[in-house]
Protein backbone atom coordinates (compact mmCIF):
# COMPACT_ATOMS: atom_id res chain seq x y z
CA UNK A 1 0.00 0.00 0.00
CA UNK A 2 2.81 2.39 0.95
CA UNK A 3 4.58 1.52 -2.28
CA UNK A 4 1.38 2.12 -4.23
CA UNK A 5 0.95 5.56 -2.64
CA UNK A 6 4.59 6.42 -3.24
CA UNK A 7 4.26 5.37 -6.85
CA UNK A 8 1.01 7.28 -7.38
CA UNK A 9 2.35 10.50 -5.83
CA UNK A 10 5.63 10.29 -7.73
CA UNK A 11 3.88 9.46 -11.00
CA UNK A 12 1.38 12.32 -10.57
CA UNK A 13 4.20 14.76 -9.84
CA UNK A 14 6.13 13.53 -12.89
CA UNK A 15 3.04 13.83 -15.08
CA UNK A 16 2.38 17.39 -13.97
CA UNK A 17 5.98 18.64 -14.17
CA UNK A 18 6.56 16.76 -17.43
CA UNK A 19 3.56 18.45 -19.05
CA UNK A 20 3.86 21.92 -17.57
CA UNK A 21 2.30 23.89 -20.40
CA UNK A 22 -0.91 21.82 -20.79
CA UNK A 23 -1.26 21.78 -17.00
CA UNK A 24 -0.76 25.55 -16.80
CA UNK A 25 -3.42 26.10 -19.49
CA UNK A 26 -5.88 23.74 -17.81
CA UNK A 27 -5.45 25.31 -14.38
CA UNK A 28 -5.72 28.82 -15.89
CA UNK A 29 -8.98 27.94 -17.63
CA UNK A 30 -10.35 26.38 -14.43
CA UNK A 31 -9.33 29.55 -12.54
CA UNK A 32 -11.13 31.82 -15.03
CA UNK A 33 -14.27 29.65 -15.06
CA UNK A 34 -14.38 29.30 -11.30
CA UNK A 35 -13.67 33.03 -10.89
CA UNK A 36 -16.68 33.92 -13.06
CA UNK A 37 -18.87 31.49 -11.12
CA UNK A 38 -17.53 32.69 -7.74
CA UNK A 39 -18.08 36.34 -8.71
CA UNK A 40 -21.74 35.62 -9.47
CA UNK A 41 -21.97 33.70 -6.21
CA UNK A 42 -20.47 36.65 -4.34
CA UNK A 43 -22.85 39.17 -5.94
CA UNK A 44 -25.87 36.95 -5.31
CA UNK A 45 -24.68 36.34 -1.74
CA UNK A 46 -24.39 40.08 -1.03
CA UNK A 47 -27.73 40.93 -2.67
CA UNK A 48 -29.42 38.16 -0.70
CA UNK A 49 -27.75 39.49 2.42
CA UNK A 50 -28.93 43.01 1.58
CA UNK A 51 -32.45 41.70 0.99
CA UNK A 52 -32.35 39.97 4.37
CA UNK A 53 -31.20 43.16 6.14
CA UNK A 54 -33.94 45.10 4.37
CA UNK A 55 -36.54 42.44 5.11
CA UNK A 56 -35.62 42.63 8.81
CA UNK A 57 -36.63 46.29 8.70
CA UNK A 58 -39.72 45.69 6.63
CA UNK A 59 -42.98 47.17 8.01
CA UNK A 60 -46.47 47.91 6.80
CA UNK A 61 -48.20 51.28 7.07
CA UNK A 62 -51.97 51.05 7.23
CA UNK A 63 -53.69 54.44 6.75
CA UNK A 64 -56.95 54.92 8.58
CA UNK A 65 -59.92 56.51 6.86
CA UNK A 66 -60.27 60.24 7.49
CA UNK A 67 -62.76 60.80 10.26
CA UNK A 68 -62.28 57.52 12.00
CA UNK A 69 -63.38 58.29 15.56
CA UNK A 70 -60.55 58.18 18.09
CA UNK A 71 -62.69 55.85 20.21
CA UNK A 72 -62.24 53.18 17.54
CA UNK A 73 -58.47 53.48 17.45
CA UNK A 74 -57.85 51.52 20.69
CA UNK A 75 -59.99 48.46 19.76
CA UNK A 76 -58.63 48.55 16.19
CA UNK A 77 -55.09 48.61 17.56
CA UNK A 78 -55.86 45.51 19.65
CA UNK A 79 -57.55 43.79 16.71
CA UNK A 80 -54.56 44.46 14.46
CA UNK A 81 -52.15 43.13 17.09
CA UNK A 82 -54.04 39.82 17.00
CA UNK A 83 -53.62 39.36 13.24
CA UNK A 84 -51.45 36.46 12.13
CA UNK A 85 -47.86 37.62 11.56
CA UNK A 86 -48.10 40.93 13.37
CA UNK A 87 -45.51 41.56 16.07
CA UNK A 88 -45.78 45.26 17.06
CA UNK A 89 -48.31 47.94 16.07
CA UNK A 90 -47.75 51.63 16.73
CA UNK A 91 -50.41 54.30 16.23
CA UNK A 92 -49.18 57.41 14.37
CA UNK A 93 -51.55 60.30 14.89
CA UNK A 94 -51.79 63.22 12.39
CA UNK A 95 -49.68 65.30 14.82
CA UNK A 96 -47.02 62.57 15.00
CA UNK A 97 -47.03 62.38 11.19
CA UNK A 98 -46.58 66.16 10.94
CA UNK A 99 -43.72 66.06 13.45
CA UNK A 100 -42.07 63.26 11.45
CA UNK A 101 -42.38 65.19 8.18
CA UNK A 102 -40.92 68.33 9.76
CA UNK A 103 -37.99 66.31 11.04
CA UNK A 104 -37.41 64.79 7.59
CA UNK A 105 -37.62 68.17 5.81
CA UNK A 106 -35.24 69.79 8.30
CA UNK A 107 -34.43 73.33 7.23
CA UNK A 108 -37.08 73.16 4.52
CA UNK A 109 -39.88 72.48 6.99
CA UNK A 110 -41.40 75.90 6.15
CA UNK A 111 -42.80 74.12 3.08
CA UNK A 112 -45.37 72.66 5.47
CA UNK A 113 -46.63 76.09 6.55
CA UNK A 114 -50.39 76.31 6.13
CA UNK A 115 -50.91 72.57 6.23
CA UNK A 116 -52.98 71.43 9.14
CA UNK A 117 -51.99 68.16 10.85
CA UNK A 118 -55.57 66.97 10.36
CA UNK A 119 -54.82 66.93 6.63
CA UNK A 120 -52.44 64.00 7.22
CA UNK A 121 -54.23 60.71 7.77
CA UNK A 122 -53.61 58.76 10.97
CA UNK A 123 -51.91 55.43 10.46
CA UNK A 124 -50.67 52.20 12.06
CA UNK A 125 -47.00 51.26 11.68
CA UNK A 126 -47.00 47.49 11.77
CA UNK A 127 -43.84 45.48 12.42
CA UNK A 128 -43.97 41.82 11.44
CA UNK A 129 -42.88 38.60 13.03
CA UNK A 130 -39.55 37.31 11.61
CA UNK A 131 -41.15 34.57 9.48
CA UNK A 132 -43.38 37.12 7.74
CA UNK A 133 -40.59 39.55 6.81
CA UNK A 134 -40.32 38.47 3.17
CA UNK A 135 -41.95 39.39 -0.08
CA UNK A 136 -44.21 36.32 -0.08
CA UNK A 137 -45.53 36.14 3.46
CA UNK A 138 -45.95 39.90 3.89
CA UNK A 139 -48.85 39.60 1.43
CA UNK A 140 -50.68 37.29 3.86
CA UNK A 141 -50.70 40.09 6.48
CA UNK A 142 -51.66 42.69 3.84
CA UNK A 143 -54.63 40.54 2.77
CA UNK A 144 -55.87 40.39 6.38
CA UNK A 145 -55.43 44.17 6.77
CA UNK A 146 -57.37 44.87 3.56
CA UNK A 147 -60.36 43.12 5.07
CA UNK A 148 -60.50 45.70 7.88
CA UNK A 149 -62.91 48.44 6.67
CA UNK A 150 -61.31 51.21 8.77
CA UNK A 151 -58.12 51.03 6.71
CA UNK A 152 -58.17 53.12 3.57
CA UNK A 153 -54.77 52.24 2.14
CA UNK A 154 -52.05 49.75 2.89
CA UNK A 155 -48.43 50.52 1.92
CA UNK A 156 -45.46 48.22 2.21
CA UNK A 157 -43.22 49.19 -0.72
CA UNK A 158 -44.42 46.11 -2.59
CA UNK A 159 -43.10 47.08 -6.00
CA UNK A 160 -39.63 47.66 -4.63
CA UNK A 161 -39.61 44.40 -2.70
CA UNK A 162 -40.91 42.42 -5.67
CA UNK A 163 -38.50 44.00 -8.15
CA UNK A 164 -35.55 43.42 -5.89
CA UNK A 165 -36.65 39.90 -5.18
CA UNK A 166 -37.00 39.17 -8.91
CA UNK A 167 -33.54 40.65 -9.47
CA UNK A 168 -32.01 38.36 -6.86
CA UNK A 169 -33.79 35.34 -8.33
CA UNK A 170 -32.70 36.26 -11.87
CA UNK A 171 -29.13 36.62 -10.65
CA UNK A 172 -29.24 33.24 -8.93
CA UNK A 173 -30.68 31.65 -12.08
CA UNK A 174 -27.96 33.26 -14.23
CA UNK A 175 -25.37 32.08 -11.71
CA UNK A 176 -26.50 28.47 -12.00
CA UNK A 177 -27.01 28.46 -15.79
CA UNK A 178 -23.63 30.11 -16.37
CA UNK A 179 -22.14 27.95 -13.66
CA UNK A 180 -23.50 24.83 -15.33
CA UNK A 181 -22.02 25.81 -18.69
CA UNK A 182 -18.68 26.66 -17.13
CA UNK A 183 -18.64 23.40 -15.22
CA UNK A 184 -19.25 21.38 -18.40
CA UNK A 185 -16.41 23.41 -19.95
CA UNK A 186 -14.11 22.56 -17.06
CA UNK A 187 -14.80 18.83 -17.39
CA UNK A 188 -14.23 19.02 -21.15
CA UNK A 189 -10.95 20.95 -20.83
CA UNK A 190 -9.57 18.87 -17.97
CA UNK A 191 -10.42 15.67 -19.76
CA UNK A 192 -8.76 16.85 -23.00
CA UNK A 193 -5.58 18.04 -21.31
CA UNK A 194 -5.32 14.81 -19.41
CA UNK A 195 -5.70 12.92 -22.66
CA UNK A 196 -2.63 14.83 -23.87
CA UNK A 197 -0.76 13.81 -20.73
CA UNK A 198 -1.85 10.23 -21.19
CA UNK A 199 -0.86 10.20 -24.84
CA UNK A 200 2.63 11.43 -23.88
CA UNK A 201 2.88 8.27 -21.72
CA UNK A 202 1.26 5.99 -24.32
CA UNK A 203 4.22 3.59 -24.63
CA UNK A 204 4.57 3.23 -20.89
CA UNK A 205 0.86 2.59 -20.43
CA UNK A 206 0.92 0.01 -23.20
CA UNK A 207 3.75 -1.83 -21.43
CA UNK A 208 1.83 -1.60 -18.15
CA UNK A 209 -1.13 -3.24 -19.86
CA UNK A 210 1.06 -6.01 -21.31
CA UNK A 211 2.71 -6.89 -18.00
CA UNK A 212 -0.55 -6.93 -16.04
CA UNK A 213 -0.39 -3.75 -13.95
CA UNK A 214 -3.53 -3.29 -11.90
CA UNK A 215 -5.88 -0.72 -13.50
CA UNK A 216 -5.43 1.38 -10.32
CA UNK A 217 -1.71 1.72 -11.01
CA UNK A 218 -2.49 3.25 -14.36
CA UNK A 219 -5.58 5.27 -13.53
CA UNK A 220 -5.07 6.64 -10.02
CA UNK A 221 -2.21 9.03 -10.99
CA UNK A 222 -4.48 10.43 -13.73
CA UNK A 223 -7.34 10.85 -11.26
CA UNK A 224 -5.03 12.54 -8.78
CA UNK A 225 -3.74 14.88 -11.46
CA UNK A 226 -7.30 15.95 -12.36
CA UNK A 227 -8.15 16.32 -8.69
CA UNK A 228 -5.12 18.56 -8.11
CA UNK A 229 -5.84 20.65 -11.20
CA UNK A 230 -9.41 21.23 -10.00
CA UNK A 231 -8.33 22.00 -6.43
CA UNK A 232 -5.59 24.43 -7.54
CA UNK A 233 -7.96 26.07 -10.04
CA UNK A 234 -10.69 26.51 -7.41
CA UNK A 235 -8.20 27.73 -4.78
CA UNK A 236 -6.60 30.29 -7.09
CA UNK A 237 -10.03 31.53 -8.20
CA UNK A 238 -11.03 32.12 -4.56
CA UNK A 239 -7.72 33.89 -3.89
CA UNK A 240 -8.18 36.15 -6.94
CA UNK A 241 -11.77 36.91 -5.95
CA UNK A 242 -10.61 37.81 -2.44
CA UNK A 243 -7.98 40.20 -3.86
CA UNK A 244 -10.59 41.75 -6.18
CA UNK A 245 -13.00 42.12 -3.27
CA UNK A 246 -10.34 43.82 -1.16
CA UNK A 247 -9.20 45.97 -4.09
CA UNK A 248 -12.77 47.07 -4.82
CA UNK A 249 -13.12 48.46 -1.30
CA UNK A 250 -9.86 50.40 -1.56
CA UNK A 251 -11.22 52.29 -4.57
CA UNK A 252 -14.69 53.07 -3.22
CA UNK A 253 -14.88 56.81 -2.37
CA UNK A 254 -15.06 57.43 1.41
CA UNK A 255 -18.43 59.22 1.07
CA UNK A 256 -19.94 56.14 -0.57
CA UNK A 257 -18.30 53.85 1.99
CA UNK A 258 -19.98 55.88 4.75
CA UNK A 259 -23.36 55.40 3.08
CA UNK A 260 -22.72 51.71 2.68
CA UNK A 261 -21.67 51.31 6.30
CA UNK A 262 -24.97 49.71 7.21
CA UNK A 263 -24.95 47.39 4.21
CA UNK A 264 -21.57 45.68 4.27
CA UNK A 265 -20.22 44.08 1.08
CA UNK A 266 -19.18 40.74 2.52
CA UNK A 267 -16.77 38.12 1.17
CA UNK A 268 -17.98 34.57 0.69
CA UNK A 269 -18.56 32.65 3.93
CA UNK A 270 -16.17 29.76 4.73
CA UNK A 271 -18.72 27.07 3.87
CA UNK A 272 -19.29 28.55 0.39
CA UNK A 273 -15.51 28.72 -0.12
CA UNK A 274 -15.29 25.08 0.93
CA UNK A 275 -18.07 24.17 -1.54
CA UNK A 276 -16.31 26.01 -4.39
CA UNK A 277 -13.02 24.26 -3.61
CA UNK A 278 -14.78 20.92 -3.37
CA UNK A 279 -16.66 21.66 -6.62
CA UNK A 280 -13.40 22.45 -8.45
CA UNK A 281 -11.78 19.31 -7.11
CA UNK A 282 -14.73 17.09 -8.02
CA UNK A 283 -14.88 18.60 -11.51
CA UNK A 284 -11.15 18.03 -12.01
CA UNK A 285 -11.62 14.45 -10.89
CA UNK A 286 -14.60 14.01 -13.19
CA UNK A 287 -12.56 15.38 -16.11
CA UNK A 288 -9.81 12.87 -15.40
CA UNK A 289 -12.40 10.10 -15.07
CA UNK A 290 -13.83 10.94 -18.50
CA UNK A 291 -10.29 10.98 -19.94
CA UNK A 292 -9.46 7.61 -18.41
CA UNK A 293 -12.70 6.11 -19.69
CA UNK A 294 -11.84 7.29 -23.18
CA UNK A 295 -8.19 6.31 -23.44
CA UNK A 296 -7.19 4.07 -20.55
CA UNK A 297 -9.26 1.02 -21.33
CA UNK A 298 -7.34 -2.17 -20.66
CA UNK A 299 -6.47 -3.64 -24.06
Amino acid sequence: MTFFLQYVIKRTFQNMTGNLFPNFITISIIVISMLIFSTFTLIAFNLTNFLKIWEDKIEIIAYLRQGTPSSEVGPLLNKTRLLDGVEVVRYVSPDDAMGFMEMKLGRQKNLLEGIQPAFLPPSFEIQLKKDFRNSTRIKEVVTQLKEVPQFEEIQYGQEWVETFSVLVHALRLTQWILGGLLLIGIVFITSNTLQLTISSRREEIEVMHWVGARPGFIRVPVYLEGLLQGFLGGGLAILLLFLLHQGLFLYIPPSMQARMAKIPVLFLPPETIAWILLGGTVLGFFGSFVASMRVLKYK
Binding site: F4, E206, V207, V211, A213, R214
Partner: protein
Protein backbone atom coordinates in the same frame (compact mmCIF):
# COMPACT_ATOMS: atom_id res chain seq x y z
CA UNK B 1 -0.20 -36.09 -18.21
CA UNK B 2 0.15 -32.31 -18.48
CA UNK B 3 -2.97 -30.14 -18.28
CA UNK B 4 -4.14 -27.88 -21.08
CA UNK B 5 -2.91 -24.30 -20.62
CA UNK B 6 -4.76 -23.02 -23.67
CA UNK B 7 -8.09 -24.26 -25.00
CA UNK B 8 -9.78 -22.66 -28.00
CA UNK B 9 -13.15 -24.03 -29.03
CA UNK B 10 -14.59 -23.01 -32.43
CA UNK B 11 -13.14 -19.51 -32.16
CA UNK B 12 -13.80 -17.02 -34.94
CA UNK B 13 -12.93 -13.37 -35.26
CA UNK B 14 -14.51 -11.17 -37.90
CA UNK B 15 -13.76 -7.46 -38.00
CA UNK B 16 -16.57 -4.94 -38.62
CA UNK B 17 -15.28 -4.58 -42.19
CA UNK B 18 -16.34 -8.28 -42.63
CA UNK B 19 -12.71 -9.37 -42.85
CA UNK B 20 -12.45 -12.79 -41.26
CA UNK B 21 -9.19 -12.97 -39.27
CA UNK B 22 -9.87 -16.31 -37.56
CA UNK B 23 -12.31 -18.97 -38.63
CA UNK B 24 -13.47 -21.84 -36.43
CA UNK B 25 -10.20 -22.39 -34.59
CA UNK B 26 -10.18 -25.30 -32.19
CA UNK B 27 -6.94 -26.20 -30.45
CA UNK B 28 -5.44 -27.23 -27.16
CA UNK B 29 -1.95 -26.48 -25.95
CA UNK B 30 -0.59 -28.43 -23.01
CA UNK B 31 1.42 -27.14 -20.13
CA UNK B 32 5.11 -27.28 -20.97
CA UNK B 33 4.58 -27.51 -24.74
CA UNK B 34 6.55 -25.45 -27.26
CA UNK B 35 4.17 -24.70 -30.11
CA UNK B 36 4.89 -22.85 -33.32
CA UNK B 37 1.99 -21.00 -34.89
CA UNK B 38 3.24 -20.88 -38.46
CA UNK B 39 1.81 -19.10 -41.44
CA UNK B 40 2.46 -16.30 -43.88
CA UNK B 41 1.98 -12.65 -43.09
CA UNK B 42 -1.74 -11.85 -42.66
CA UNK B 43 -2.72 -15.45 -41.99
CA UNK B 44 -4.15 -14.71 -38.53
CA UNK B 45 -1.21 -15.65 -36.25
CA UNK B 46 -1.10 -12.29 -34.48
CA UNK B 47 -4.88 -12.17 -34.11
CA UNK B 48 -4.77 -15.61 -32.52
CA UNK B 49 -2.16 -14.46 -30.00
CA UNK B 50 -4.09 -11.23 -29.37
CA UNK B 51 -7.20 -13.27 -28.62
CA UNK B 52 -5.20 -15.40 -26.17
CA UNK B 53 -4.05 -12.33 -24.23
CA UNK B 54 -7.46 -10.63 -24.38
CA UNK B 55 -6.29 -7.81 -26.64
CA UNK B 56 -9.00 -8.91 -29.09
CA UNK B 57 -12.44 -10.30 -28.33
CA UNK B 58 -13.46 -13.18 -30.59
CA UNK B 59 -16.74 -12.91 -32.46
CA UNK B 60 -17.68 -16.44 -31.39
CA UNK B 61 -16.26 -19.43 -29.60
CA UNK B 62 -14.72 -20.05 -26.21
CA UNK B 63 -11.19 -19.50 -24.96
CA UNK B 64 -9.72 -20.76 -21.71
CA UNK B 65 -6.21 -19.66 -20.74
CA UNK B 66 -4.54 -20.91 -17.54
CA UNK B 67 -7.95 -21.97 -16.25
CA UNK B 68 -9.56 -18.56 -16.91
CA UNK B 69 -12.59 -18.41 -19.19
CA UNK B 70 -11.52 -15.21 -20.91
CA UNK B 71 -14.45 -15.16 -23.31
CA UNK B 72 -16.91 -15.78 -20.50
CA UNK B 73 -19.48 -13.12 -19.65
CA UNK B 74 -18.14 -10.34 -17.48
CA UNK B 75 -14.47 -11.36 -17.64
CA UNK B 76 -12.80 -8.18 -16.42
CA UNK B 77 -9.57 -9.24 -14.79
CA UNK B 78 -7.37 -8.89 -17.84
CA UNK B 79 -4.49 -7.83 -15.63
CA UNK B 80 -4.67 -11.17 -13.77
CA UNK B 81 -4.58 -13.04 -17.09
CA UNK B 82 -1.60 -10.98 -18.28
CA UNK B 83 0.30 -11.83 -15.09
CA UNK B 84 0.12 -15.49 -16.04
CA UNK B 85 1.85 -14.81 -19.34
CA UNK B 86 4.88 -13.08 -20.75
CA UNK B 87 4.27 -11.30 -24.04
CA UNK B 88 7.07 -10.75 -26.53
CA UNK B 89 6.30 -8.81 -29.67
CA UNK B 90 8.17 -8.08 -32.84
CA UNK B 91 8.41 -4.37 -32.03
CA UNK B 92 9.83 -5.01 -28.52
CA UNK B 93 7.71 -2.28 -26.81
CA UNK B 94 10.63 -1.03 -24.73
CA UNK B 95 10.70 2.34 -22.97
CA UNK B 96 13.27 4.44 -24.76
CA UNK B 97 13.93 6.85 -21.92
CA UNK B 98 15.00 4.12 -19.50
CA UNK B 99 17.99 1.88 -19.01
CA UNK B 100 18.06 -1.84 -19.71
CA UNK B 101 17.58 -2.71 -16.03
CA UNK B 102 14.82 -0.12 -15.57
CA UNK B 103 12.90 -1.59 -18.51
CA UNK B 104 12.90 -5.07 -17.00
CA UNK B 105 12.34 -3.84 -13.43
CA UNK B 106 9.37 -1.76 -14.62
CA UNK B 107 7.31 -4.94 -15.17
CA UNK B 108 7.84 -5.83 -11.51
CA UNK B 109 7.37 -2.33 -10.10
CA UNK B 110 3.96 -1.89 -11.68
CA UNK B 111 2.85 -5.29 -10.42
CA UNK B 112 3.55 -4.36 -6.82
CA UNK B 113 7.20 -5.25 -6.16
CA UNK B 114 9.47 -2.84 -4.30
CA UNK B 115 12.02 -0.98 -6.37
CA UNK B 116 14.93 -2.73 -4.67
CA UNK B 117 13.45 -6.17 -5.23
CA UNK B 118 12.53 -5.30 -8.81
CA UNK B 119 16.04 -4.11 -9.56
CA UNK B 120 17.60 -7.27 -8.11
CA UNK B 121 15.26 -9.63 -9.97
CA UNK B 122 15.79 -7.65 -13.19
CA UNK B 123 19.57 -8.09 -12.80
CA UNK B 124 19.19 -11.84 -12.34
CA UNK B 125 16.98 -12.10 -15.41
CA UNK B 126 19.32 -9.99 -17.53
CA UNK B 127 22.16 -12.35 -16.59
CA UNK B 128 20.04 -15.26 -17.85
CA UNK B 129 19.70 -13.62 -21.27
CA UNK B 130 23.38 -12.65 -21.37
CA UNK B 131 22.96 -8.91 -20.87
CA UNK B 132 24.48 -8.50 -17.41
CA UNK B 133 27.10 -6.11 -18.73
CA UNK B 134 24.56 -3.84 -20.44
CA UNK B 135 22.26 -3.31 -17.46
CA UNK B 136 22.98 0.39 -16.97
CA UNK B 137 23.00 1.26 -20.69
CA UNK B 138 20.23 3.30 -22.26
CA UNK B 139 17.94 1.09 -24.31
CA UNK B 140 18.75 2.91 -27.57
CA UNK B 141 22.43 1.97 -27.25
CA UNK B 142 21.54 -1.71 -27.77
CA UNK B 143 21.37 -3.61 -31.05
CA UNK B 144 18.04 -5.01 -32.27
CA UNK B 145 18.97 -8.49 -31.02
CA UNK B 146 19.92 -7.16 -27.62
CA UNK B 147 16.70 -5.15 -27.42
CA UNK B 148 14.75 -8.30 -28.21
CA UNK B 149 16.54 -10.08 -25.39
CA UNK B 150 15.58 -7.24 -23.04
CA UNK B 151 11.96 -7.70 -24.14
CA UNK B 152 12.25 -11.42 -23.42
CA UNK B 153 13.81 -10.71 -20.02
CA UNK B 154 10.93 -8.39 -19.22
CA UNK B 155 8.39 -11.01 -20.31
CA UNK B 156 10.05 -13.62 -18.09
CA UNK B 157 10.90 -11.61 -15.02
CA UNK B 158 7.54 -12.31 -13.39
CA UNK B 159 8.19 -16.05 -13.95
CA UNK B 160 5.00 -16.60 -15.97
CA UNK B 161 4.05 -20.18 -16.84
CA UNK B 162 3.16 -19.14 -20.40
CA UNK B 163 5.01 -17.12 -23.05
CA UNK B 164 3.26 -15.68 -26.11
CA UNK B 165 5.83 -14.60 -28.65
CA UNK B 166 4.68 -12.84 -31.81
CA UNK B 167 7.43 -12.93 -34.47
CA UNK B 168 10.12 -12.32 -31.85
CA UNK B 169 12.87 -12.98 -34.39
CA UNK B 170 11.26 -11.05 -37.21
CA UNK B 171 13.82 -8.23 -37.17
CA UNK B 172 16.88 -10.27 -36.37
CA UNK B 173 19.72 -11.69 -38.42
CA UNK B 174 20.42 -15.43 -38.47
CA UNK B 175 22.88 -15.38 -35.59
CA UNK B 176 20.62 -13.31 -33.38
CA UNK B 177 17.68 -15.54 -34.30
CA UNK B 178 19.58 -18.57 -33.10
CA UNK B 179 20.55 -16.76 -29.88
CA UNK B 180 16.93 -15.86 -29.21
CA UNK B 181 15.73 -19.37 -30.07
CA UNK B 182 18.35 -20.67 -27.64
CA UNK B 183 16.81 -18.52 -24.90
CA UNK B 184 13.32 -19.83 -25.70
CA UNK B 185 14.53 -23.46 -25.86
CA UNK B 186 16.17 -22.98 -22.49
CA UNK B 187 12.89 -21.69 -21.05
CA UNK B 188 10.94 -24.54 -22.59
CA UNK B 189 13.30 -27.07 -21.03
CA UNK B 190 12.61 -25.47 -17.65
CA UNK B 191 8.88 -26.15 -18.12
CA UNK B 192 7.53 -22.87 -19.53
CA UNK B 193 4.77 -23.23 -22.10
CA UNK B 194 5.69 -21.30 -25.24
CA UNK B 195 3.47 -20.24 -28.10
CA UNK B 196 5.71 -18.87 -30.84
CA UNK B 197 4.19 -17.25 -33.92
CA UNK B 198 6.42 -17.05 -36.97
CA UNK B 199 6.25 -16.79 -40.73
CA UNK B 200 9.68 -18.36 -41.24
CA UNK B 201 9.22 -21.98 -42.26
CA UNK B 202 12.99 -22.56 -42.07
CA UNK B 203 12.90 -21.79 -38.39
CA UNK B 204 9.99 -24.14 -37.81
CA UNK B 205 11.70 -26.97 -39.66
CA UNK B 206 14.86 -26.57 -37.63
CA UNK B 207 13.13 -27.54 -34.39
CA UNK B 208 11.11 -30.64 -33.63
CA UNK B 209 8.39 -28.81 -31.77
CA UNK B 210 4.67 -28.91 -32.38
CA UNK B 211 3.53 -26.80 -35.34
CA UNK B 212 0.06 -25.39 -35.99
CA UNK B 213 -0.13 -24.08 -39.53
CA UNK B 214 -2.61 -21.34 -40.15
CA UNK B 215 -3.77 -19.87 -43.43
CA UNK B 216 -6.56 -17.40 -44.06
CA UNK B 217 -7.52 -17.60 -40.40
CA UNK B 218 -7.97 -21.37 -40.45
CA UNK B 219 -5.82 -24.20 -39.15
CA UNK B 220 -4.71 -26.11 -42.24
CA UNK B 221 -2.56 -28.77 -40.62
CA UNK B 222 -0.20 -29.30 -37.77
CA UNK B 223 2.50 -31.43 -36.32
CA UNK B 224 1.64 -33.09 -33.06
CA UNK B 225 3.92 -32.78 -30.09
CA UNK B 226 6.09 -35.68 -29.24
CA UNK B 227 4.72 -35.97 -25.71
CA UNK B 228 7.88 -37.71 -24.55
CA UNK B 229 9.79 -34.50 -25.25
CA UNK B 230 7.49 -32.27 -23.24
CA UNK B 231 8.97 -31.65 -19.81
CA UNK B 232 6.62 -32.75 -17.03
CA UNK B 233 5.25 -29.75 -15.14
CA UNK B 234 4.50 -30.41 -11.50
CA UNK B 235 1.71 -28.67 -9.68
CA UNK B 236 2.80 -25.37 -8.21
CA UNK B 237 5.72 -24.91 -10.57
Amino acid sequence: MNEAVIEMDHVSKTYPSQISALSDITLEILSGEFTFIAGPSGSGKSTLLRVLCCAETPTSGEVVVCGMHITGPGFKKIYQLRRTMGIVSQDFKLLRDRTVNENVAFALEVTGHTRKEAKRKASDMLSRVGLEEREGDPILALSAGEQQRVAIARALVNAPPLILADEPTGNLDAKMTLDIMGAFTDLHQKGTTIVFATQFTGLVKRYSYRVIRILGGQIVNGRKTDISKVPEVKAGE
